[in-house]
Symmetry: C2
């Protein structure tokens, strides 16, 4: 049995190398690649991913996993080896259930979907995109059917990002959260807005870069195992557990953009770099889920990076870099500006108080589309109605409404909820962490992040993909994912800022 | 038969994608990779290359090539398809003859060899490196034996870089060339040296970069299909025919370094970018040989970049960028400085007149080692004797002598001659090109390179790996590789500069 486990691990190392290689091909495409190479790069990625898929779904892996099932029952179910087998089996089972012909068809539809969506968004023409959306919904339904039986048609989609989590669980959480967030925003909207025009002055890129690099170095990002480049959209990617890179973009007329995206991506990178190195090139060398991943990025971006303690420490340095822009702006004014709440049309620009509502709207529409209770053609109207309900505003056109995000254009249903769940988990972890590090704010005010990072490493990062997200959160905080800590966090913060 | 050819091409596309991917992993390692990722990267490259090797040596490829042999006899032997099959068969036959166990053993020995050599060179201790050299020579003999029968034990090694070329051919060429180059250098050494101290002033990197970029853009390097980055040693690498990248390095106290290496690498890149795009992802998507590759890099570096016409055009711009360093240096003084001849110890710093002698020395030693007429322990003495004979100087230590180059440390015997052959081919092509573009100097003086590049594309680049090097040179110039044009070039140039 030990020999079979060794064989499985050995085979998985190759799969992991393929995964890392494919990630490098994609990173290079977004960061370095000259434009004339796009078609070749597409072929290269397709070739590598095809072989990776062949390796994962090989009879050899199937037989080893069958044989190793016995070991799962005999051994300590929480041992690394038992969990490794379990996670490997999960990947294998998922991959084997989807026929190769469907994979190709879906890949084609999502490639076309993206290019049609780009055009449709530019023209703000939903009608252009509608046939693609219809086809992608239909393909996603077929996809879900490969995993029957399920409780809900949305379950298999969600499961791709949140292993083991069910639609009904997310709905319960969101149903509890929605009215409270709506009410908070209503209260804030009745108060006078905070001053933030100085965030839109001209901030030269070099200064922004310098500040961002100083911050993430203090957080604990290690250049021996990472780097930061520029790309059109910020992202994090890893090639094994020893090389996790982040990207950023600079907006010369909006200071918060690069600053907070650097902290956000750094949070993702710290997570992957904190995974037990013994798991490298194994099925456990990954985050527990997208929500747990997002909990780490949002924690460093918001709970740390948008805190008063953080700016008490770092603001003087920022003023030093941008004396003419910020010389006359106090720490408190700056702190309030980067935390301004304002219902707005675009998700990626939303503040902490409104962000989750953008997500809930999307998940509700996705579920309705998958269930068939909403047809694609009615999506724009449904979108606008919910925007009015939750945020009190109406998109002037579909480009700023139903067409704003790329996700649906490649059939990425099931992903959106992970953003909001990540917010909830970040606050839940924070409350638990405070019991062990009651003075964390004092430490942040002195730019000391070692205890905080150490806590996250010990409780979250180290485990990699060993536990499912609900299991991990339960293990750390004593309960599954719940909305209360996040609501407490929002209320405390914004009642103070807006004097509610 | 058409169907089988289609299958072969299809399989080769995958092999080409693997090759491109492996090249990207290596490019990234040398240009971007954080140091902590070295071990993982090694595993990733090994995994990709193993699969690429498995694909190349698969029974499927073997059977297709067997079946397609008939087509080779029936069809026009010079058609693209016939040549594609021939080149594919060449790669397959070479790969299949070397047992996997040997490949692993050799890979291990060359990895160890490189790290031992680094240490040995640092300490200038040949004795440290000697056991590795002995083992690598022995392994290279075994390698040659896989390809028996051969005329000469060195043939299979040379053939890896110069398809179809034999040791005796190279020896004949070098034997004719050697006395003439030795005599030219003797004559030059009796003249007074040219002034070149201004090349060693401080030249800020940004200005060097700016000038280099302007030059290679004028040459015709297209940023839509390439980029230039920094690395410890300059190199060119491609990921398919639409993405060929170059690297450079800057020495703040030696102006020629980055300048000429940019032109050199650009020459390599222009070659690959000029290959018939229809050959992309096929066995023909490659240079004809290393010598032909080197002919292109040396042509742009030396025949163009070190010409009087070039500097008449570009020197004012260089003075503009570096006014304090070059403001008082005339074009003619500068031209002579970058062409100064001086017998020196280090190959990579050698001028055009002495360079080939460094190469001949190495090839003669390699052949003697392979034949067994020289034992590894006697290599330092043999080296020093030849240095005295050919260049009239004696290395003060082995670091500046027998240990100076990396090539032997990974068992890369057979590579060195391609550098000198490349020089010869560059002059041979130039003489032929002059018949079609008699005014090329006038064009260069106006920074017009389109005709020259067009000529190289039409006669050299477009064919990719379709023809063997000797065949290609014969086809273009009417004779195989010969030393006379290069000697004519050297004599004309240096008799003028040194008033011989």
């Amino acid at each position: 049995m030990e020999e079979k486990l060794r064989q499985l691990k050995k085979l998985w190392e190759e799969i992991a190398d393929f995964k890392a290689t494919s990630a490098l091909l994609e990173w290079d495409q977004l960061v370095n690649m000259p434009e004339g190479a796009a078609q070749d790069r597409g072929e290269q990625i397709a070739t590598i991913e095809k072989i990776a898929h062949d390796k994962l779904t090989s009879d050899e892996i199937g037989r080893l996993l069958d044989d190793l099932k016995i070991m799962l029952d005999q051994n300590d179910a929480d041992s690394d080896d038992a969990r490794l087998i379990k996670v490997a089996k999960r990947h294998y089972d998922k991959a084997i259930k989807v026929p190769a012909a469907f994979v190709s068809e879906f890949a084609r539809a999502s490639t076309i979907g993206q290019s049609v969506w780009e055009k449709a968004k530019l023209e703000s023409s939903f009608e252009t995109f509608r046939p693609c959306l219809e086809q992608l919904v239909e393909l996603r339904r077929q996809y879900a059917d490969f995993f029957k039986p399920w409780q809900h048609v949305y379950d298999p989609l969600l499961d791709d990002f949140e292993p083991g989590m069910k639609t009904v669980e997310v709905q319960e959480i969101f149903n509890a959260l929605r009215p409270e967030q709506v009410e908070l925003i209503r209260q804030i909207s009745q108060e006078s807005q905070v001053e933030k025009s100085f965030l839109f002055l001209n901030y030269p890129e070099e200064g922004q870069r310098e500040f961002g690099v100083e911050v993430i170095e203090k957080f604990g990002y290690d250049w021996k195992h990472g780097r930061q480049d520029k790309s059109a959209h910020p992202f994090t990617t890893g090639f094994g557990l020893n090389d996790v890179r982040i990207t950023t973009r600079f907006k010369s007329n909006f200071l918060p953009s690069a600053m907070f995206s650097s902290m956000h991506e750094c949070g993702h990178a710290l997570y992957e770099l904190g995974i037990n190195k013994r798991y490298n090139r194994s099925p456990l060398a990954d985050g527990a889920s997208m929500a747990v991943h997002e909990s780490q990025s949002r924690l460093w971006e918001n709970l740390v990076g948008r805190s008063r303690a953080f700016w008490r420490c770092f603001y003087p340095r920022l003023q030093e870099i941008f004396p003419s822009q910020l010389g006359n702006v106090t720490t408190e004014t700056f702190y309030k500006a980067v935390n301004a709440v304002e219902p707005s049309l675009i998700r990626v620009e939303a503040d902490e108080a409104t962000y989750n509502l953008h997500i809930m709207l999307r998940m509700e529409l996705e579920i309705a589309l998958m269930e068939g209770s909403l047809s694609a053609k009615d999506a724009p109207q449904a979108w606008n109605e919910k925007m009015k309900d939750y945020l009190g505003i109406l998109p002037p056109d579909n480009a700023q409404g139903v067409l704003q995000d790329v996700h649906w254009s490649f059939g990425g249903f099931g992903y959106f909820p992970t953003y909001a769940l990540g917010n909830l988990v970040s606050a839940q972890l924070w409350e638990r962490m405070l019991q062990d590090i009651p003075d964390v704010e004092g430490q942040i005010e002195q730019a000391k992040f070692a205890d905080l990072l150490g806590w996250m490493r010990k409780h979250v990062h180290i485990h990699g993909a060993k536990f499912e997200p609900q299991e991990l959160v339960q293990k750390i905080t004593g309960s599954k994912i719940i909305p209360n800590p996040y609501m407490r966090y929002l209320e405390t913060k914004f009642k103070d800022i807006y004097h509610l």
